[in-house]
Symmetry: C2
């Protein structure tokens, strides 16, 4: 594994319903890919429940350990939306009500023929020191405080906030990827792959077996690194090794292809 200096991020998914298995997260992959385009590597994800101590402790651990932290979930108007209070507690700051947001949310609420109330005003209340992240979808903003970006859990709203977050993010080198699919078992290719990995210490080579419907394996090999020429050389060597082993390797595009039905995790 290469460990060159890189810009790192951690994502914290806050919400009981991913942990219960009821909802399938859709935000991880979107944020991972968006960060990579900015030259930031997503290095860890945590899924945690709506429990105050857990949120505060996780925030403090992660904001010290990574260059950037992103959270999703828990910033709506209901009693289980406790993320903002927890962020304030983690940073040791108070909360303030933002007048522009109050005005915006009041106007939007009244346009729908409804009334502003205390619950909705919670969405205009932020930890002191926050920069707000506009939300083009449902108006109530996310925010940045130091290196922590606090976003909604609903994917389309999160995506709008993530666009607003981008100008605040300074990335490093972008990780590039090359890939191939191969019709050989991992046990056959392991030795050759390990030899290539040993020669190319600045790239990461991953092997991802998949099961085919109806039995049988195929594998994806993914090479990641910041130097395109090095990746190209290592990729060509692995393609040749696969052919030498009697396989029929095919180029794959790791950051474009949809994951198949049975991806390795």
């Amino acid at each position: 594994m290469s460990e060159e200096k890189s810009v790192t991020a951690c994502l914290i998914l806050i919400g009981n319903e991913i942990l219960s298995g009821r909802t399938q997260d859709k935000n991880l992959a979107y944020i991972a890919k968006g960060l990579n385009e900015l030259g930031v590597q997503l290095r860890e994800v945590r899924v945690i429940p709506d429990i105050r101590k857990t949120i505060v402790d996780t925030l403090n651990e992660c904001r010290a350990a990574f260059d950037y932290v992103f959270t999703t979930g828990g910033i709506g108007p209901t009693h289980d939306d406790i993320t903002s209070e927890c962020v304030a507690e983690a940073f040791g700051v108070g909360m303030y009500r933002d007048p522009d947001t109050v005005e915006l949310l009041t106007r939007r609420t009244e346009e729908r023929g409804q009334k502003m109330n205390e619950a909705r005003l919670r969405m205009a209340t932020f930890p002191e020191g926050s920069d707000l992240l506009k939300n083009e979808i449902s108006a109530a903003p996310g925010y940045r405080i130091e290196n922590v970006f606090v976003m909604a859990g609903v994917p389309r709203i999160m995506q709008s906030m993530f666009e607003e977050a981008k100008p605040h993010i300074t990335g490093g080198s972008r990780m590039l990827a090359r890939g191939l699919a191969v019709d050989l078992g991992e046990g056959n290719i392991a030795e050759g792959l390990a030899l290539v990995q040993a020669r190319y210490r600045d790239i990461d080579i991953g092997s991802y077996p998949q099961m085919r419907e109806g039995g049988g394996f195929r594998g994806s090999i993914v090479l990641r690194g910041t130097d395109a020429a090095v990746l190209d050389r290592a990729h060509a060597e692995i393609m040749q090794i696969m052919r030498d082993l009697g396989g029929n390797p095919v180029e794959e595009y790791p950051d474009k292809a949809q994951a198949s039905a049975e991806p390795e995790s």
Copy 2:
């Protein structure tokens, strides 16, 4: 949030390709639901890369903090499969080669007309003190060591190992769920929900907004707790509150329904 004594678990998804966004995890929801059927609450999930120090530190932190820990990924034959070495390091034990597994894997390999080799023998090598978890799909076992269950990342293989893990797990009360869908905005229902939550401290009430295709919101409300009668009463109260607010609430079944296209996280 209720904090009664319960049996807890943490899931560690090990693998660079979930963090890159290339593959979508399929194991979290399966394991969450399977654990709940056993009376175990999944309280945290971590997604971490194939980096030795990260894996060792995460294992040690989580096995101390939760009753059970489950890992997926990184137990195959290739150079990036480093989970078992990390487990041994975390527990401060050596590794041993299991003769029965060597025989099993050798027979399976030869049946496919291939040869046993050092890479495949890695899948017969386990931390000392492990109980093996059979794998009906691809033969190479997972294992349990103390309160940590180490499983494959490929979903069908993981599921086979998880079945083998079940007899080793002693759960507590099973969390039951009731739910409803409502056509009212969260800002309208927040006050009523908070009042019900305040009266029923032993259950968790969650509100999950969703965006409809073409605009507009709907919400799911999920009630979880161990006492069916209490859940029934709180559910009836919330249904009535929604009707009083002019809504048209509909019963939902949180642990049966598929998540919709745009779930909240």
